[in-house]
Amino acid sequence: MIVRLASFLGLAIVLVPLWVMPGVLFPHPGVNDALELSALGPLLYLLTLGASLLSLLGVGLLG
């Protein structure tokens, strides 16, 4: 129970800065500001998908 509570608290601690991050970093965003981020997002997504597939390998080896 404590582990679950701590994990949900930890998640909330991560989500709040994530929500306010765009407004803090780019208070008045222009159309072409920080264009490199438009490529970094999908790249991070591809890494997430790759790690997801690797989790199956983990279950196969450790399960």
Binding site: P22, D33, L37, S38, P42, L44, Y45, S52, V59, G63
Partner: protein, 134 residues
């Protein structure tokens, strides 16, 4: 390690595809190239999510854990991403940080769903009551 984590992750990715389709319908615009990621994301999520769910369910029953619990976690996480996407709207896709926060959220939510499905976190150990010392 149980398949509860990967099956939850698979359900999360399938739900994520639905959330992005909802976003395309709500504020997407195919005349602007910057919305292309909105279309590509579900196209990649469906095969990977489907493969994760299918492969997890064909594993032997002792390795599965509680797949339904994993699916519930995945759907809840996808719902969170859907609400986030709708709240941010088109502005987040067209201006800095170009939905980078959405992709960070996807990584965090996916890792959480996976970790909660692993024994010792949301899995067997967390749900097993402790015995008093004899």
């Amino acid at each position: 390690m149980k398949a509860e984590g990967p099956v939850g992750l698979g359900a999360f990715l399938l739900g994520l595809a639905a959330a992005f389709v909802l976003a395309i319908i709500t504020f997407g615009n195919f005349s602007n190239d910057r919305f292309a990621a909105l279309l590509v994301t579900p196209v990649l999520a469906v095969p990977v999510g489907g493969a994760l769910v299918a492969a997890s369910l064909v594993m032997r029953s002792s390795s599965r854990g509680r797949p339904l619990m994993g699916v519930v976690r995945g759907v809840v996480a996808a719902g969170l991403v859907a609400v986030w996407l709708m709240a941010r709207g088109a502005a987040d896709w067209l201006q800095a940080p170009y939905a980078f926060d959405v992709y960070l959220l996807i990584a965090v939510a996916g890792a959480t769903v996976l970790v909660l499905g692993v024994d010792g976190w949301g899995g067997r150990w967390a749900s097993t009551p402790m015995r008093p010392p004899s």
